[in-house]
C-alpha cells in the first residue's frame, strides 16, 4: 500500500468513525443519566430517517427543514416510548427495563415493516454534502468534512448543557441517586422525559447523516449502527459523551484498517466490533475514559 492509498484509507476510517461517534453520543447520554441501555436507540434512528424521508420526498421540504422536523417528531416519539414503556418500570430492577428496551426495539422494527414495507427506499444526499473534493489521487466527499464538524458541535453543546445549565445539573444529580433527587423537589419525570427527547433527537440526526452517506433506508437499518454505537459507547466508557466520540472514531478506524490491511479478514469486520466489546468488558469494563466503578 502506498502513501496516498494509506491516507485515503485513513480518511475512510475517520468518515465512518465520526458517523459511529455521532450516533454513539445520544446512546451514551441516555445511559449516563438513566443507567438504561436503550437498545431501541437504533430503531428510533430508523424512524427518524423515515420521517426525514417523508419530509424531503413526500412534502418536498429542504433538507435542513426535514432534519429539524424529523428531530422534533423523533424527540416526541422518545418521550412517548419513555412514558409508555420505561416509566412504569422506573423502580423495577434494571434488567426489567433492559428487556423492555429490547421489546421496544422489536416493536419499532416490525411496526416499520408493516407501515413502510420491507423494500429499501432511496435517500437523497443534499447538494452541500455531495461535493467531491479531489487532491491528487485523494477523494473526499464534503459529507465527510461536515460530519466531524457536526459531531464536534453536538458534543460541545451537550457538554455545555450537562455541565453549565440547571437542567444538566439535575440530570447529573439524577444519575447519582434518583430517589434523593426526588426528595429534593426535582420533577424527575420531567428531567427523564427531556433526556429521552434529547437522546432520540440525536438518534434521528445521527441516522439522517448515516443515511446521507449510505443512501438507502429500510426498517432494519438501525440494528447494525445501533449495535456499533453501543460498542463505541462501551469502548469510550459508557455514560461518557467524550468517550463515545473517541470510541466511535476508534471503532470506525479499526474496521476500515482491518479490511484495508488484511483484505481476507473483511468478513470478520463486524466480529471485530464485538471482539473489542468482549475484550473491553473483560479487561477494562469502564472503557477508555470511564472511571473505575466502586465495588
Amino acid at each position: 500500500m502506498d502513501g496516498a492509498q494509506l491516507l485515503q484509507q485513513i480518511i475512510n476510517g475517520l468518515t465512518l468513525g465520526s458517523l459511529y461517534a455521532l450516533i454513539a453520543i445520544g446512546y451514551t447520554m441516555v445511559y449516563g443519566i438513566l443507567r438504561l441501555i436503550n437498545f431501541a436507540h437504533g430503531d428510533v434512528l430508523m424512524v427518524g430517517c423515515y420521517l426525514a424521508w417523508f419530509g424531503a420526498v413526500q412534502f418536498g421540504l429542504p433538507w435542513w427543514a426535514a432534519l429539524m422536523g424529523s428531530m422534533a417528531l423523533t424527540a416526541l416519539l422518545g418521550v412517548l416510548i419513555d412514558q409508555g414503556a420505561y416509566r412504569p418500570l422506573r423502580s423495577a430492577p434494571r434488567i426489567s427495563a433492559l428487556i423492555t428496551a429490547i421489546g421496544v426495539s422489536f416493536f419499532l422494527e416490525n411496526l416499520g415493516l408493516v407501515v413502510f414495507g420491507g423494500r429499501p427506499k432511496a435517500f437523497e444526499r443534499p447538494e452541500i454534502f455531495n461535493q467531491l473534493y479531489q487532491i491528487g489521487d485523494l477523494r473526499v466527499l464534503s459529507h465527510s468534512v461536515w460530519v466531524p464538524i457536526i459531531t464536534a458541535l453536538v458534543l460541545a453543546g451537550l457538554l455545555w448543557m450537562i455541565y453549565r445549565t440547571r437542567l444538566g445539573m439535575a440530570m447529573r444529580a439524577l444519575s447519582r441517586d434518583l430517589v434523593t433527587v426526588q426528595l429534593m423537589g426535582i420533577d424527575t419525570n420531567r428531567v427523564v422525559a427531556v433526556t429521552f427527547a434529547l437522546g432520540s433527537a440525536l438518534a434521528a440526526a445521527g441516522g439522517i447523516f448515516w443515511a446521507m452517506k449510505y443512501p438507502q433506508i429500510n426498517p432494519l437499518m438501525g440494528v447494525l449502527p445501533g449495535l456499533k454505537a453501543f460498542v463505541a459507547a462501551v469502548l469510550g466508557g459508557i455514560g461518557n459523551v467524550v468517550g463515545a466520540v473517541l470510541g466511535g472514531l476508534m471503532l470506525g478506524f479499526g474496521e476500515i484498517m482491518l479490511v484495508a490491511l488484511w483484505p481476507e479478514l473483511a468478513g470478520y469486520r463486524d466480529a471485530l466490533a464485538f471482539v473489542l466489546l468482549i475484550g473491553f468488558l473483560l479487561f477494562r469494563p469502564s472503557g477508555i475514559l470511564g472511571q473505575e466503578l466502586p465495588s
Binding site: 485515503q8 484509507q9 414495507g117 423494500r119 432511496a122 477523494r139 476500515i256 484498517m257 463486524d270
Partner: protein, 384 residues
C-alpha cells in the same frame, strides 16, 4: 346492564364461531390444492420476493385451478433469513400440509429449505435460486431459472468480448452462496479466455460501507468491476466506487435486477450491465403474451407500480410449471408430482421454451441488460 351486554356479546361470539364451522361445509366445492409460497417479503432481498409474489398472483389469475380444484396459495415471510426460511418450510409442510412449495427465491434460503422439503417429499420449485448446489443430490427440489456456471460464463464472455476487459476486480458478498459461486464461475471463465483477476475483495450481506475494499480495488487498477451480489449492495458499491474515483465499468448478475438498483444507485449505476433471465423483447410464447397482458392490467389499475423484471416472470413461471405438472401427474401428492415435474419437457412458458431434467434443473438462455438513462435496456440474449 353491563352484565347483559357481556352475555349478549358472548352469545354473538359463539354464534359466529358456529357459523364459521358450518358455512364452509355448506359452500364446500372441490377441496383446494394448497401451494406454499416461501418468500422473503421483508429484509435484505425483499424486492425479489415481492416482485416474484406479484408474478405468482398474476399467474394464479391466469390458471386458478388444476384437476378442477382451486389452487390456494399460502404465503409465509422468511424475512430474507436462512433460519426463518427453514422455519417457514417446516410450517408449510407440517402445519399447512401443502402439496408443493414455491420459493425461496435466493440460493442460500433455498439451501436451508431444501432438506426439509426433501425429507417430507414435498416438491419445492424455486423461481430464481441459481446456485448449482441447490438441487444437487435432491429429488424434490426444482428450479425454473438457469444456473450460475452458465451465468458466470456469459458474464465473463460479455466482459472479455464486448466490454474489452482484461483486468477484472471482483467484490464478493461472502454471506451469500449465490455471490460466492457466481464469482468463482466468472473468474474461471474470464481466466480461461486470457483475462486476469487483479483483485478479489470480500464483504458481508447488509454491509453499507465498502470504502476500504474499494480503496484496495482502485489501487489494483482494474478495467472492470464485477459485482455478483444483490441490488442494495450493488447500488451502494457503485456509488462509493464513483466517489472514490474508480471509473471501471460495472458488471453484475441477476441479483441486480430490481428497481432499487436504479433508485439507490442513481447516476452511479448508469452504464452498469448485468446478466439476467428475461426481457420483454424475448417474449414470444402465448403464455408470455397472456402474462404481459395481465401485468399491464395490474399496472393500469395501480396495483403494481414498477416495470416488469425477471423476478415477476420467474414467479409466474414457477407457478405455471407447477400447475402444469399437477395436471399431468393427475394428483397433488409428492412422488407422482415429483415425477411429473422432473419430466417437464418443452413447456412453452412465459420466459420461453423450458425443459426440466431429472436433476431438477432447467436449461435456459440468459439476457444481458444495461442501465441507460435510469432504465434497464435490452442488449442481447445468449443461448446455452
Amino acid at each position: 346492564m353491563t352484565q347483559l351486554v357481556r352475555k349478549a356479546v358472548r352469545w354473538l361470539a359463539l354464534a359466529c364461531l358456529a357459523l364459521a364451522g358450518v358455512v364452509p361445509a355448506l359452500a364446500a366445492g372441490p377441496e383446494p390444492i394448497l401451494v406454499g409460497a416461501n418468500m422473503s417479503m421483508t429484509g435484505q432481498v425483499a424486492a425479489f420476493s415481492q416482485m416474484t409474489w406479484d408474478g405468482i398472483r398474476i399467474a394464479q389469475r391466469m390458471r386458478p385451478t388444476a384437476l378442477g380444484r382451486p389452487i390456494q396459495l399460502v404465503l409465509v415471510d422468511n424475512k430474507s433469513d436462512n433460519v426463518e426460511a427453514a422455519n417457514a418450510t417446516n410450517r408449510l409442510v407440517t402445519k399447512d400440509k401443502v402439496a408443493a412449495m414455491l420459493g425461496p427465491v435466493t440460493s442460500s434460503a433455498t439451501l436451508a429449505a431444501a432438506p426439509i422439503a426433501e425429507e417430507a417429499r414435498v416438491p419445492l420449485v424455486s423461481p430464481s435460486a441459481t446456485s448449482p448446489i441447490v438441487t444437487q443430490g435432491r429429488k424434490y427440489v426444482f428450479r425454473v431459472c438457469f444456473m450460475d456456471p452458465f451465468q458466470g460464463q456469459v458474464a465473463a464472455r460479455h466482459a472479455y468480448n464486448n466490454l474489452g476487459a482484461r483486468r477484472a476486480a471482483i467484490l464478493i458478498d461472502i454471506g451469500q452462496d449465490y455471490a460466492v459461486g457466481l464469482a468463482a464461475f466468472f473468474k474461471r471463465e474470464f481466466q480461461r479466455l486470457g483475462g486476469q483477476v487483479v483483485a478479489e475483495a470480500k464483504c458481508g450481506t447488509g454491509d453499507q460501507d465498502f470504502s476500504a475494499q474499494l480503496g484496495a480495488i482502485k489501487a489494483s487498477n482494474p478495467d472492470l468491476l464485477y459485482l455478483p451480489n444483490y441490488y442494495t449492495e450493488d447500488a451502494l458499491v457503485a456509488r462509493q466506487a464513483r466517489e472514490l474515483g474508480l471509473k471501471a465499468p460495472l458488471l453484475s448478475g441477476d441479483g441486480a435486477d430490481a428497481p432499487e438498483l436504479l433508485k439507490i444507485g442513481g447516476a452511479a449505476v448508469e452504464g452498469l450491465s448485468f446478466t439476467t433471465h428475461f426481457h420483454k423483447q424475448g417474449a414470444a410464447t402465448p403464455l408470455a403474451r397472456e402474462f404481459l397482458a395481465g401485468y399491464a392490467t395490474e399496472q393500469a389499475t395501480g396495483n403494481i407500480k414498477e416495470d416488469l423484471t425477471s423476478f415477476h416472470v420467474l414467479g409466474a413461471e414457477a407457478y405455471l410449471v407447477l400447475a402444469d405438472a399437477i395436471e399431468r401427474a393427475d394428483a397433488a401428492d409428492g412422488p407422482k408430482l415429483r415425477q411429473a415435474l422432473a419430466s417437464t419437457k418443452d413447456f412453452l412458458g412465459v420466459s420461453g421454451r423450458l425443459t426440466i431434467g431429472e436433476d431438477g434443473n432447467a436449461v435456459k438462455s440468459a439476457a444481458i441488460l444495461q442501465v441507460k438513462d435510469g432504465k434497464f435496456e435490452y442488449v442481447t440474449t445468449i443461448e446455452p
